[in-house]
């Protein structure tokens, strides 16, 4: 009976999926972009433009007259707030109105448009647009449309200039050593920041626009000759086939293009810092910069990437390696510590040393709930506190942390609701989850699964869960590159659990970089003290003579 029920459900699901696909393809076909041609009369064009922008009040139309004894009518159309008023005056109004051409040679029609674009307007970016929708989208992007009476075309002059946040230190990825600048919400600022790190002609920037309603600008950045063309094509294809109405953050893009949407592990990386992105570009990855967010996506992403920080490369290799090993331990602890604790205390008491067993047993004495429930509730409470801490305004946050620390840590134990070891385990789990911030989402998911397994079948369950996670990780790919590739090749191992000295990491990561894979000259260790070197040189010269 039950079996049949499940089969019916499965069949229903698979049918449903097909039908959804059909619907979307149909709706795609129905929608056709309408192109409205321009009229000769300027007021007709203006009315039409107004209509296209729903008669919004922030649409400004500034008519002007110019030419010999101002006889020609024109109009500037722009959206208030998106344009820089100084540029508007300097680049369009002043040169056009101040223009004193000869009456006889005065051009008309299309010719006038070209003269204006090429000779008069003081702007570096002037485009001729022949359709009203083109003009409208220009306006919406912050440019100014210039319309002339009697012309069936218009000019789009770049006058973008809205208020934006200045470059500042990112909140999420703070460093002790290394550059402190972070990306901003402005696309061009972000691409410029990457350009400033890699001053090379190979750095290829490709623009795309996604989102029917939001028309979000997206930049694809990669080092041609280093990045794998297949990956570049895949990213381009996956973004290009998107037909969605909005892209508000790079997370939208990430969700649409990732390899494994239902995996707890992210297969697209992100960063808020230009030096991180530049480093990944140099390894042959592709970056996706999305307008309106300081988070830049990078692909393909490997598992090891979550454990690498920029500071690993800025500090000396021994310390960096130690930190990386600690990060691996931290991740292991944050996933498995509660599960192991539950398994030990509820199933495998024989594995605990006798003295420790008595200590734990003493603290468990009189606590009302099973250890699984206790741990689960404490972790749940921690997640609540963390979430509250993020969302609350800063002055209130302190109050929350005090309440959390006192009530959770002290009162719960002294009231006998939870045992002290549980609090310790939860605390170390919570603290360790911040060691690897990129994987903290996968860690909190896996942690719960492992805890449930431990609560049911003890260590057997935990080890089965560990195996399952390992198998899953092994089967994951990111844009065709195996997720565990960081542990696969000797050259990749140099930058995995330990970080070898920079001068010994000669090649870019295998399977990611393609073509120009040599990163450094073969083996350039640091110089020896110069006195020794001089002696060697002298000897060498002596032999030569």
């Amino acid at each position: 009976m039950f079996l049949r029920f499940i089969i019916r459900k499965l069949r229903f699901l698979s049918k449903n999926r097909h039908s959804v696909c059909d619907n979307t393809t149909e709706s795609n076909n129905n929608e056709q972009p309408h192109v409205s041609t321009m009229k000769k009369q300027i007021h007709e064009n203006l009315d039409c433009l107004k209509d296209m922008l729903s008669g919004s009040n922030d649409l400004k139309i500034h008519p002007f007259r110019f030419g010999p004894d101002p006889q020609l009518a024109g109009a500037m159309v722009f959206i208030d707030g998106l344009v820089d008023n100084a540029t508007l005056t300097e680049a369009i109004l002043r040169p056009v109105t101040g223009w004193q051409p000869d009456k006889k040679t005065f051009p008309t029609g299309q010719e006038l448009m070209d003269v204006l674009a090429q000779e008069i307007l003081c702007s570096g970016d002037v485009r001729t647009a022949s359709s009203l929708s083109e003009l409208a989208s220009g306006c919406l992007a912050g440019d100014t449309a210039v319309l002339l009476d009697g012309c069936t075309a218009g000019l789009v002059v770049s006058t973008k200039g809205w208020d934006k946040r200045s470059v500042s230190e990112p909140q999420s990825e703070t460093v002790v050593r290394g550059p402190r600048e972070g990306f901003t919400e402005n696309l061009r600022t972000n691409t410029a920041m990457i350009r400033r790190k890699i001053k090379n002609g190979q750095l290829c920037v490709t623009n795309m626009t996604v989102g029917r309603k939001t028309q979000t600008d997206i930049c694809l950045i990669y080092l041609s000759g280093v990045a794998d063309p297949k990956v570049v094509e895949t990213v381009k294809y996956r973004i290009g086939r998107l037909d969605v109405d909005s892209i508000l953050e790079s997370g939208y893009i990430e969700e649409y293009i990732e390899d494994a949407p239902f995996s707890p592990f992210a297969t697209v990386g992100y960063s808020e810092k230009p030096d991180v992105v530049a480093g990944r570009l140099l390894e042959g990855r592709v970056a996706v910069v999305v307008d309106g967010t300081p988070f830049v996506l990078t692909a393909p992403m490997l598992f090891i990437e979550s454990f690498q920080t920029t500071e690993d490369y800025y500090t000396r290799p021994l310390y960096a390696s130690m930190m990386r090993i600690i990060r691996f331990f931290g991740y292991f602890i944050t996933v498995f510590a509660p599960a192991i604790f539950i398994a030990l205390t509820a199933f495998h008491q024989e594995l605990i040393p006798t003295t420790l067993l008595f200590t734990i047993a003493n603290s468990r004495e009189g606590t009302p709930f099973p250890v699984f429930l206790e741990t689960f509730v404490m972790l749940f409470a921690f997640e609540i506190l963390r979430e509250a801490g993020i969302r609350l305004p800063r002055p209130v946050g302190q109050a929350i942390s005090i309440v959390g620390a006192l009530i959770m840590g002290d009162a719960a134990v002294s009231a006998g609701l939870v045992g002290a070891p549980v609090v310790i385990v939860v605390a170390i789990t919570a603290v360790a989850s911040f060691l690897v911030p990129n994987q903290s989402d996968s860690a909190s998911l896996l942690r719960v699964i492992m805890m449930v397994l431990a609560a049911f079948v003890g260590f057997y369950g935990v080890s089965m869960g560990f195996l399952a996670v390992l198998l899953h990780l092994g089967s994951l790919t990111s844009f065709g590159v195996p997720y565990f590739d960081g542990f696969a090749w000797m050259s990749n191992l140099q930058d995995s659990v330990v970080r070898m000295p920079l001068w010994s990491m000669i090649r870019r990561p295998k399977d990611i970089a393609h073509g120009d894979i040599t990163r450094r000259r073969f083996f350039i260790p640091p110089m020896r003290p110069y006195t020794l070197q001089d002696e060697d040189d002298l000897e060498g010269e002596g032999e030569h003579e």
Binding site: Q349, E350, G366, F456
Partner: protein, 391 residues
């Protein structure tokens, strides 16, 4: 399609069932367990039966601080019963107690000396068979009633089972042959020629205080306790087995008293068959000693003293080893495993020798060769008395 779906569904169901099948198997919360820290077996009035006594380490909630009387309460629980077999006793305990017994952490199995003399082969089956009762359990013999030793209220440790385990762990650092686990005991029982031994502990009561004293080794043969080694003989046994660290050698002579500290003592055992059919054991003892304390030796210079001391130590070590061997021979108990050594050297002859081992062992010749090095004299060279005589 249908078949594939059916397969997927059945796999899903089966895996779900698998989770439930093993669900919470062996799940015991800590506050539903009695942690057994010691088991004592004694001879009951009815010779068929056993007096079983269990010591349970009491867990105390450290939450209720207001109850000061808590700290004065006993830290152990003693469960007692009389039953035919160990398992029956455990069943009774489990029936009559509020929690499940956890044998994993049992530290010690104490056997009353009366029971040991009667024979213990019948009573330790459970300790070998049950997976919860580990082979690492220490086996000890109590002088008198075992349950009295187990219920001793000690100053050093709250739980006497833990005390015994720690004492043995401490002695293990001196020589691994002090620590007799169930595994060692049972393998000797099975071995046939090698006699099992087990430490003897005795309860001593002075001024309302109870103490547990280490009181030599019990020697078993055919699962019955047939005799004992006193503390001196235990030293002789341990030295004969070798691998000794940090142990004292006490010597007395006409000139003075010297106590040495063993830094390292290794023994090599060599077994040969004598032409007359007997066995000859050669023990080569290689000891590195340190002078621990000197008393007397007036008027001797360090140069004269050192060879004398080496001689003294060698003689003492040889004497103790020989004494113990003689005791073992009079008991006719091969506590050294000489038979096993013979088997290793002469596997073919052993088949025949094995049956005659009871006659051969008392006849075995022992040759002890001791080499003592005293590399240092400690922090001072001469004792104060020696210096005084010089001036």
């Amino acid at each position: 399609m249908n078949r594939r779906l059916k397969l997927v569904a059945s796999v899903m169901l089966l895996s779900m069932l698998m989770m439930l099948l093993s669900g919470c198997w062996d799940n015991h919360e800590l506050d539903t367990l009695f942690i057994v820290t010691g088991i004592a077996l004694d001879k009951a009035n009815d010779s068929e039966q056993l007096d079983i006594s269990l010591q349970i380490g009491k867990t105390k909630s450290n939450v209720s601080d207001s109850d000061k009387s808590n700290s004065q309460q006993a830290s152990t629980i003693q469960l007692k019963t009389t039953a035919y077999t160990m398992m029956e006793g455990l069943m009774e305990f489990n029936r009559d107690s509020s929690r499940t017994l956890l044998l994993h952490h049992n530290q010690v199995l104490l056997l009353g000396s009366a029971l040991a003399e009667q024979g213990i082969k019948d009573h330790i089956d459970l300790f070998l068979r049950d997976h919860e009762a580990r082979m690492e359990v220490l086996v000890m013999i109590a002088d008198g009633r075992a349950d009295e030793v187990l219920s001793a209220k000690l100053d050093q440790e709250k739980i006497s089972g833990v005390f015994l385990a720690r004492e043995m762990q401490d002695l293990y650092a001196v020589s691994p042959y002090y620590k007799i686990r169930m595994l060692d005991f049972a393998s000797r029982l099975r071995d046939g020629t090698t006699s099992p031994i087990a430490p003897i502990v005795a309860l001593k009561e002075t001024d309302k205080k109870q103490e547990i004293k280490f009181n030599g080794f019990a020697v078993f043969k055919d699962g019955k306790m047939i005799g004992r080694l006193n503390n001196d003989e235990v030293l002789g046994y341990v030295w004969a087995m070798g691998n000794v660290k940090q142990c004292g050698v006490v010597t007395d002579s006409d000139l003075g008293r010297a106590v040495f500290h063993i830094i390292n003592l290794d023994t090599e055992r060599d077994v040969t068959l004598r032409p007359d059919g007997g066995v000859r054991v050669t023990l080569t003892v290689d000891a590195t000693l340190n002078i621990g304390e000197l008393r007397g030796f007036n008027g001797m210079t360090p140069k004269d003293l050192m060879p004398y001391l080496v001689d003294l130590a060698q003689n003492e070590i040889r004497r103790k080893i020989t004494d113990t061997f003689v005791t073992a021979q009079t008991l006719n108990a091969d506590i050294y495993g000489v038979g096993t050594s013979v088997y290793r050297e002469y596997p073919k002859e052993w088949k025949e020798l094995k049956n005659r081992w009871n006659e051969l062992f008392p006849d075995t010749e022992l040759d002890v060769q001791v080499k003592v090095h005293i590399p240092t004299t400690g922090q001072i060279v001469k004792s104060l008395e020696m210096e005084g005589s010089k001036s």
